[in-house]
């Protein structure tokens, strides 16, 4: 069993792991010949099933995967991996490999980081006292401070030079046998009632957060008024539930209601993208729930599909926005929300897809 490769888009990899780590601590990472899969299945909350082509995060020419089954399944503490990757941002090269230390398997990152130093460390300057010290170089000050410290070693070199730092980050992982992961399947859902491209995720995230806050505040102030204390106290314990709904006429609505207020934000002019309908007959297409919804008038309440989602969890889901993806939201009325997150980049967008499965809470 061997896995080693050079990292390609470190920033993408780091951002991806950052977003995934907000949804779960442990990630199932599946290394295949032509794709890398990341799966997060938390005890509760949103599931993520992501598939990325190898070249989206790794240097394909250096991608070396050897395993009897052709795949390697790892259980990875995704937060730790993210942390390790952050050392690699801006580095001149970074490798990752599966290795072992004692009995513990590790993902070891070896990162070589170069930086240019003005050089002239204290030794160099003291050695050339007659030469004027370089101006504007803060090491000059240091030299002065260390006047009494006579450097003895031969190591120092004068003049600007490249500094090289080698960083190794070792992330303990578990190697999973194929039989362990065989039982894990991506959820299957019926055809969506509404599919729509989400607006700017940062705007959506910020407004969602305000709504969460409003829900919390409203509970608090209601509590101060000491009215309907029972419902209030139970409500404040759980994360606020946001109502998210959309129709096939380009509108998306986010709403909450509490004792103190009712608030909603409505986006309009969004795109309802066409589905991949190549394999379907015309009749089958017409039978799709979303097409039936599209047939309803834009002001018809029945044309909206609605889900109730956990406000905090939703905020974590939206953190994928840091990768500036295109997100298609598929609403299955009162049941689930599925997000197809397509990452931008030079690689094939179709292949690089993260799928988020979000259950709807009953009202």
């Amino acid at each position: 069993m061997r896995f080693r490769t050079q990292l390609a888009n470190t920033v993408t990899f780091a951002k991806l792991t950052a977003s995934l780590s907000s949804l779960g601590k442990i990630c199932w990472m599946r290394l295949e010949a032509d794709a890398i899969r990341f799966t997060i299945i938390p005890d509760q909350g949103t599931q993520v099933w992501a598939q990325l082509p190898v070249d989206s995060i790794f240097e394909e020419s250096t991608y070396n995967l050897v395993s009897n089954s052709g795949v390697i399944n790892l259980e990875v503490p995704i937060g730790a991996l993210n942390r390790a990757l952050r050392s690699a941002i801006g580095a001149s090269s970074a490798h990752i490999r599966l290795t072992k230390k004692g009995n513990i398997p590790l993902l070891a990152l070896t990162i070589i980081s170069s930086s240019w130093t003005q050089g002239n460390n204290a030794l160099g300057i003291v050695g050339n006292e007659n030469e004027p010290a370089p101006t504007g170089d803060d090491t000059t000050t240091v030299t002065a401070d260390h006047d009494g410290n006579n450097p003895r070693g031969p190591e120092g070199g004068a003049g600007p030079r490249e500094r090289e730092t080698v960083i190794t980050q070792e992330v303990p992982v578990k190697v999973l046998h194929e039989s362990v992961v065989r039982g894990l399947h991506e959820p299957r859902c019926r055809d969506p009632d509404v599919h729509i491209i989400l607006p700017s995720l940062i705007q959506l995230k910020n407004i969602s957060e305000r709504f969460n806050k409003l829900a919390t505040d409203a509970n608090t102030s209601a509590k101060l008024k000491a009215s309907s204390s029972i419902t209030v106290s139970t409500m404040s314990l759980v994360s606020p539930k946001l109502e998210l709904s959309a129709n096939m006429h380009g509108s998306l609505k986010l709403a909450i209601a509490t004792d103190a207020l009712r608030i909603s934000s409505v986006w309009s002019g969004l795109v309802n993208p066409p589905l991949d309908t190549e394999r379907l007959s015309q009749t089958e297409i017409e039978q799709l729930p979303s097409e039936r919804m599209r047939a309803l008038a834009s002001d018809d309440e029945a044309g909206w599909a609605k889900v109730r989602i956990d406000g905090k969890d939703w905020g974590r889901v939206l953190s994928i926005g840091r990768l500036s993806p295109k997100v298609v939201a598929c609403f299955i009325n009162e049941t689930a929300l599925i997000l197809y997150v397509y990452l931008p980049g030079s690689w094939n967008g179709e292949e690089s897809c993260l799928t988020y499965y979000i259950n709807s809470y009953s009202s």
């Binding site: 705007q203 409505v266 986006w267 309009s268």
Partner: protein, 383 residues
Amino acid sequence: MDPIFSAVSSNVHQLYTLLQCIGFSPRATVQITPDGIRVSVEEGRVVQALAFLDKALFTSYTFRAPHGTIADNTGHSSEGNDNDGDAYPHFVISLSALLETLKIFGINDPSSTAQSRSTTSSMQQPTSSASNAFTAPSLLLDRSCTLQYLQPGSPLSITLSETGVKTTCELTTYEPEEDEADIPLQRDAIVMKIIMRSAWLHNAISELASTNPTILKISASAKREPFFALSGSGGPFSESTVEFSIDEQQQPQNGHVPPTTQTGHSRSKRTKMAPTVTETFLVNPPSSVGNRIKQDYRFALIRKAARAMAVANKVSIRGDRQGVLSLQFMIEFGDDASSGMSAGARAPGAALGSTVSFVDFRFVPLLDDDEVENDQADEEEED
């Protein structure tokens, strides 16, 4: 049906800034009048604050006084009298929710005045990248905010519109408490009136707060040093004092000198001594207490005005014979003399010239053991 009240603001930030000054309480009493909106809060009858949203802050402001039929439950209780026929709508809303809603326009917490002012005066970028939408304050100008109150008992509705998204919030309106009463400031018995830049008061209170005192002592005298001093006591480790004295020192390194600062020489000729930082310094203690006014307040209460201190341009500090303290904050929008921002670039909808708004705070004094003459009536409960 025409609403009782409808107003449009093209600068939510101004409303937010004013309301945030009194945001220490989650609920506020709102009264809509033909001249503007009075928003007041209070806590434990020992601190009270009022922000007045002048109609000048709005691009349109329509108020149709309702018919007398509703007068019985919308009495103008700030007058302490329900029966004076004042029929202006009067209700309680969640202030925290109102503030949070206004924040949907992406107003970052303007903890510094410079920052908040710059948001009103720069408008270089158009709505471009969405990631920018919540950080670029200029964009606030392209948005509008509509406040509406349809009829008695209706929610107060706030509509925020911007490109592509429209947010509507309906705040439940509650009936105001019956027995609200203002903390009385005896205007005919003012013994102290000090006007200064609010930032200096803020700085002093922040300073004292760092040692976590429980009591704020105000000491002022027109005759002897220290002329004006604020002290914090009751903190765990230290006692701290901020004294405003006369700056005898010439300060060539400071480019500008406040208007009240003449040279040390001419100052010393003055008969009435006043700290350098004060614009107005009037202290007339009642003869019974000598020539120094000393009064204690709960520090935690004074601190509730911190946000107002931070954003205001000037503060008028007044005290009456009973020790009731009034802090009146003048908040100027648009005039950026102090922050150095260009005042030329202004919102198209905003009024020309600066808009001056006021936020008032009143505080009940702490009982002073040494001054038994003080009215002890309702001060004990707060200790």
